[in-house]
C-alpha cells in the first residue's frame, strides 16, 4: 500500500457570501481508515462535507483537497463521484417524478461509463439492486416510488446508505447520517457502512453525537471548532466528548493557541 493518503486536505479555507466558515482545515485519511469528525453546531461540519462533495455556492479562498492524488476542487460533483467519492446527505432531497429504480440505474451506469465498464442492462441491474436492497431493510415498494418522496426521515437516511451500498464508493462521507434515527435504524445504517470497510476504502463520519460511533468504530476522532480541527485523538476521544462535552477541548485549544 502506498503512503499517499486517499484524502488529503491542506489549509482549507472556505466560506459563503464573504463569511468565513472553514478557517484552515488539515486532514489526512488513508485507505483502510475510518475517521470521525465531531463538533458542536455551527463548527463547520456540514460545510466541510459540502466542499468535499462539490456543492456550488462556496468560496474557497485557500488550500487544497486531493483525492487519490487528484485536485478535487477542480472537478464537478459528478466527476468527483466517478472517482469514487460519495456523500450521504444530512437532508436527502425529494425528487418527485424521478423513480428510484430509474435514478439508481442512471447513476450506476454513469459511473460504469466513466470507468470504461460495460453498462448494466435492465435484468442485470435489477438482480444487482435487489441484493443491495435486502441489506437495508427498506420498504418493499420503495424502488418504484419517486426518489425520497413521502419517505420518513429514517427511510431517507437508509436510502442514502442503500445508494452508497449500490455505488460502492472508495471514500464515503456521512454528513450527520445518524440525526433523527432510532436505534434500530442506526444499526442498519452502521451495518451498511461497516460492510464497505476494507483495506482499499475509507469513511469520514461527521456527527454531533457519539452514539453512531458505538457501531461504526473510528480509527481517528477529530474535533472541529470554529472551522478548525482543534484536537485529534483515538476512538476513546469520542467517549470523552460524550461524557464531558466540547468545552474542555475548546478551552484547551485556546490555551495552546
Amino acid at each position: 500500500m502506498s503512503n499517499q493518503p486517499l484524502l488529503e486536505i491542506r489549509n482549507l479555507k472556505a466560506g459563503v457570501e464573504g463569511r468565513a466558515i472553514l478557517n484552515g482545515i488539515d486532514l489526512q485519511v488513508h485507505a483502510g481508515e475510518v475517521h470521525a469528525i465531531m463538533g458542536p453546531n455551527g463548527s463547520g461540519k456540514s460545510t466541510l462535507a459540502s466542499v468535499i462533495a462539490g456543492r456550488e455556492g462556496y468560496e474557497i479562498s485557500e488550500g487544497t483537497i486531493a483525492f487519490k492524488g487528484q485536485d478535487l476542487l477542480e472537478l464537478e460533483p459528478d466527476k468527483r463521484a466517478h472517482l469514487g467519492l460519495f456523500l450521504a446527505f444530512q437532508y436527502p432531497v425529494e425528487i418527485p417524478g424521478v423513480n428510484t429504480t430509474y435514478f439508481l440505474k442512471s447513476a450506476i451506469n454513469e459511473m460504469r461509463k466513466a470507468r470504461g465498464e460495460k453498462e448494466l442492462d435492465a435484468v442485470e441491474f435489477l438482480k444487482y439492486i435487489k441484493t443491495k436492497a435486502k441489506l437495508l431493510d427498506l420498504p418493499g415498494d420503495f424502488l418504484k416510488r419517486s426518489l425520497n418522496v413521502g419517505f420518513s426521515g429514517g427511510e431517507k437516511k437508509r436510502n442514502e446508505i442503500f445508494q452508497m451500498a449500490a455505488l460502492e464508493p472508495i471514500m464515503a462521507v456521512l454528513d450527520e447520517t445518524d440525526s433523527g434515527l432510532d436505534i434500530d435504524a442506526l444499526k442498519v445504517v452502521a451495518n451498511g457502512v461497516n460492510r464497505l470497510r476494507n483495506p482499499n476504502t475509507a469513511q469520514l463520519v461527521i456527527t454531533h453525537y457519539q452514539r453512531l460511533l458505538d457501531y461504526i468504530v473510528p480509527d481517528v476522532v477529530h474535533v472541529l471548532h470554529d472551522g478548525r480541527i482543534i484536537k485529534t485523538g483515538p476512538k476513546e476521544l469520542a467517549l470523552e466528548l460524550e461524557d464531558k462535552g466540547y468545552d474542555w477541548v475548546i478551552q484547551e485549544a485556546a490555551q495552546t493557541a
Binding site: G54, E56, D78, P96, V98, S106, E110
Partner: protein
C-alpha cells in the same frame, strides 16, 4: 348604427354566412336556425379583444389580421399522406376515424373493432340519420355558444363525428380521432364538430389528435361535446400538433350525470396561438372529473387553457392539473374557475397550475377563480412558476449523474406528473415518448446537453 352592424362592416365571418346559408341544403328543420343562432351569437361580440375578461391574457390579433374564410373545398385524403403522419398509436390497431380539413375520410378510417351496438358516424351523415339525437345534444346546451369560436363552429361546421355508446357498452379498443390540416387550409377556418354521448354504465377511451401536414397558416376551431350519462366513464386524450403557423381554438363542453367518470388530458405542442376553452357541468351526485394538461411551448407560441368547472350537484369531485414547460418567448395562460352552486354541498375541488421556465423570456399568466355558493365544500388552488430545482440537480450530480442528464431527468419528471395520470397504459407510454421528442427540439434543452 348598432354595435352588431359595426362589426358586420368589416367582419368576413358575418359576410360569408349569407353565401353559406344559400349553399346549405338543410337535412333537418332545426339545423338552419341552429346555425343562425351561432352566427347571431358571434355577431354580438365579434372576435374577442384583450378587453374581454376571458381573453385578457391571450391576444388573438394575429387571427383577426389573417381574416380567415370558411373552408369550403373538400379534398380526399391520399392514403400515402397518412402513412407519413406521426399520429399516436400508429402501430396499434384502434378504432380510427380520420378527418382532413374538417371532413371525414372514409377510406382512411377503420371502424372494424367498434362493437355492433355502438354508433360512430361522420356528422354529415348522422345529421340525416340521427337528427333527433343531434338536435337534443347540439341544441340543448344554450351556453355552448359562449365563446366566439364555438359560435363560429355552430355556424360553419361541415362534418365531424357522432359517437354513441348505448347502455353498458364497453369499448376496450381506443377510439381514435385523427384530424389533419393540409396546405389547402391556408388562409381558411376549419370547424370540425365532435359529439360524443356515452349512456349509463358505458365506458370508452377516446384519443383525439390534430396534426398540421405542412407549415400552412390556418385556423382550426373544433368543438367537442361530451354527454356522460350516470355511471358512464370516458377517458379522453387530446394531442395537439398543429402547424407552427396555425391557430388552434378548441371548445370542449362536458355534461356529466350521477357517478359519472370523465378524465380529459390535453397535450398542447403545436400551433402559434392555442386555446382549449373547457366547460364542464357536473350535474349529478358522486361524480369525478379530471382535467389534466401539459403545454410544451417554445418560439413565440402561446398555450392557453381556460376552464369553468361547474358543480351543480352535491358530492362531486373535480381536479384540474396543468403543467407547462416553456422555452424562448413562449407564453402560457391558465384560467381556472371553479363554480360551486348552492346545492352542491360536499364538493371537493382542486386545481393546480405549475410552470417550468427554461428561458428568461418565457411568461405565464395564471388566474384561478373560486366562486362558491355552498357552505360545506373543500376547494383549493395552487400555482407555481419556476426553474429547475438546483438542490435536486446537485443531489443527482453527487451520485455521478452529469448535469445535462440530471436536468433532463427533472424536466421529464415534471412532464411525467401529467402523463402519468393517463389511465390507458399504451396511450400514456406513447404520450411520454411524444413529449420527449418535442422537448428534444427546445433550444435550451439542447443547450444543456452540450454543456
Amino acid at each position: 348604427m348598432t354595435e352588431t352592424e359595426q362589426i358586420k362592416e368589416n367582419d368576413q365571418w358575418l359576410e360569408a354566412f349569407d353565401a353559406e346559408e344559400r349553399a346549405m341544403t338543410p337535412s333537418s328543420a332545426w339545423l338552419l336556425p341552429f346555425r343562425k343562432a351561432g352566427i347571431a351569437q358571434y355577431a354580438k361580440t365579434g372576435l374577442p379583444t384583450l378587453n374581454d375578461e376571458d381573453w385578457r391574457f391571450t391576444n388573438i390579433d394575429p387571427i383577426r389580421q389573417m381574416a380567415f374564410l370558411p373552408m369550403t373545398a373538400a379534398e380526399k385524403l391520399d392514403n400515402r399522406t397518412l402513412v407519413n403522419v406521426a399520429y399516436p398509436l400508429k402501430e396499434q390497431s384502434t378504432i380510427r376515424l380520420v378527418f382532413l380539413d374538417g371532413r371525414y375520410q372514409q377510406e382512411s378510417s377503420d371502424l372494424s373493432a367498434l362493437p355492433a351496438e355502438a354508433i360512430a358516424l361522420p356528422l354529415h351523415e348522422a345529421l340525416k340519420t340521427h337528427h333527433a339525437e343531434l338536435e337534443r345534444h347540439l341544441g340543448n346546451c344554450s351556453y355552448q355558444n359562449d365563446n366566439p369560436f364555438a359560435a363560429l363552429n355552430s355556424a360553419y361546421f361541415k362534418d365531424g363525428l357522432y359517437l354513441h355508446l348505448p347502455r353498458k357498452c364497453h369499448v376496450d379498443t381506443p377510439i381514435q380521432i385523427i384530424h389533419l390540416s393540409s396546405g389547402n387550409a391556408e388562409g381558411k377556418g376549419i370547424f370540425p364538430r365532435f359529439v360524443i354521448h356515452a349512456e349509463t354504465l358505458s365506458n370508452c377511451t377516446i384519443l383525439e389528435s390534430h396534426h398540421g401536414l405542412n407549415d400552412a397558416c390556418y385556423l382550426n376551431a373544433p368543438t367537442t361535446e361530451f354527454v356522460v350519462d350516470p355511471e358512464a366513464r370516458i377517458e379522453h386524450v387530446k394531442v395537439q400538433e398543429e402547424s407552427q403557423k396555425a391557430f388552434h381554438m378548441a371548445s370542449i363542453y362536458v355534461h356529466m350525470g350521477r357517478a359519472a367518470r370523465f378524465r380529459s388530458h390535453y397535450l398542447t405542442m403545436g400551433g402559434r396561438i392555442n386555446r382549449n376553452t373547457i366547460r364542464t357541468k357536473l350535474d349529478g351526485e358522486g361524480l369525478a372529473c379530471v382535467l389534466n394538461g401539459l403545454n410544451l411551448a417554445d418560439g413565440h407560441q402561446l398555450a392557453d387553457n381556460h376552464m369553468i368547472v361547474e358543480h351543480a350537484q352535491p358530492h362531486g369531485e373535480s381536479h384540474e392539473y396543468f403543467n407547462g414547460i416553456l422555452d424562448d418567448h413562449a407564453r402560457a395562460v391558465f384560467h381556472g374557475r371553479i363554480l360551486v352552486q348552492q346545492i352542491a354541498q360536499k364538493t371537493d375541488a382542486k386545481q393546480t397550475s405549475k410552470n417550468l421556465l427554461l428561458s428568461n423570456d418565457a411568461t405565464v399568466d395564471t388566474k384561478p377563480q373560486l366562486e362558491i355558493y355552498a357552505d360545506d365544500v373543500k376547494c383549493t388552488h395552487g400555482a407555481t412558476i419556476g426553474q429547475l430545482d438546483e438542490e435536486a440537480i446537485y443531489y443527482l450530480r453527487s451520485r455521478g449523474i452529469p448535469k445535462p442528464v440530471a436536468q433532463r431527468m427533472l424536466v421529464h419528471a415534471f412532464a411525467g406528473e401529467i402523463t402519468d395520470r393517463i389511465e390507458h397504459q399504451a396511450i400514456g407510454a406513447e404520450l411520454n415518448q411524444i413529449v420527449w421528442n418535442r422537448l428534444e427540439n427546445f433550444s435550451n434543452f439542447r443547450l444543456t446537453e452540450r454543456q
